[in-house]
């Protein structure tokens, strides 16, 4: 499985855009990139998933360059409630077993 590297923590302020970059240099052809969000004492929540270029939903955008060796999760105009840990995951397409490999994640603190 591809190893992921992301910053341990980031601080931001309400209303700002937060960009979290994840490195996955040995990503395989069939790997998808998925981001999860986790609030304290809760289970992770799926945010967004992509394979290449750009994906956008009502919560975030995911930018993936052509070489796919990194990806950036973009959270527009964050609020205090966006304070959470964000995990970048890389997993092969239709693997035998729904094993999600979480790293340490990025702790995002949104300040007033």
């Amino acid at each position: 499985l591809a190893k992921t590297t992301q910053p341990i923590s980031m601080d931001s302020y309400e209303g700002q855009e937060v960009n979290i970059t994840c490195s996955h240099n040995n990503i395989a052809t069939n790997d998808y990139i998925t981001w999860y969000q986790q609030f304290p004492s809760q289970g992770p929540r799926f945010i967004i998933q992509g394979y290449k270029t750009k994906v956008t939903n009502e919560v975030a955008s995911l930018f993936i360059p052509a070489d796919r060796k990194s990806s950036t999760l973009s959270l527009p105009r964050v609020s205090l409630s966006d304070t959470a840990v964000y995990y970048c995951l890389v997993a092969p397409l239709k693997a035998a077993g729904n094993k999600l490999t979480f790293g340490g994640g990025t702790r995002v603190l949104v300040k007033p």
Binding site: Q42, G43, Y87, G97, N98, K99, G104
Partner: protein, 114 residues
């Protein structure tokens, strides 16, 4: 619609005891996975079940076991508890087995071993 439900929410056990944690997946979901999350770390995969069969196992000792019932609910059992087993145990359900399928997590069971 009810999400993934886990019981109990909190549990305190003594070293050497046994514990059973329960999980009910989202209606229609046939895949259930279990994760252990130690404080300050990301969740670690323990087991995955699909249609009552084990489809994946993480790097955990044989003290950990699980099963899935005909209604797709699941139990995680841990024998001979150690202090290091103290963690948040998370259950996730998904429609199918594929790892690019969105997984829905429950709130978890906070287990404290004293």
């Amino acid at each position: 619609d009810a999400g993934v439900t886990q019981s109990p929410t909190h549990l305190i056990k003594t070293r050497g005891q046994h514990v059973t944690l329960r999980c009910s997946p989202i209606s229609g979901h046939k895949s259930v996975s279990w994760y252990q999350q130690v404080l300050g770390q990301g969740p670690q995969f323990i087991f995955q079940y699909y249609e009552k069969e084990e489809r994946g196992r993480g790097n955990f000792p044989d003290r950990f076991s699980a099963r899935q019932f005909p209604n797709y609910s699941s139990e995680l059992n841990v024998n001979a508890l150690l202090l290091g087993d103290s963690a948040l145990y998370l259950c996730a359900s998904s429609l199918v087995v594929a790892s690019n399928t969105e997984a829905f997590f429950g709130q978890g069971t906070r287990l404290t071993v004293v």
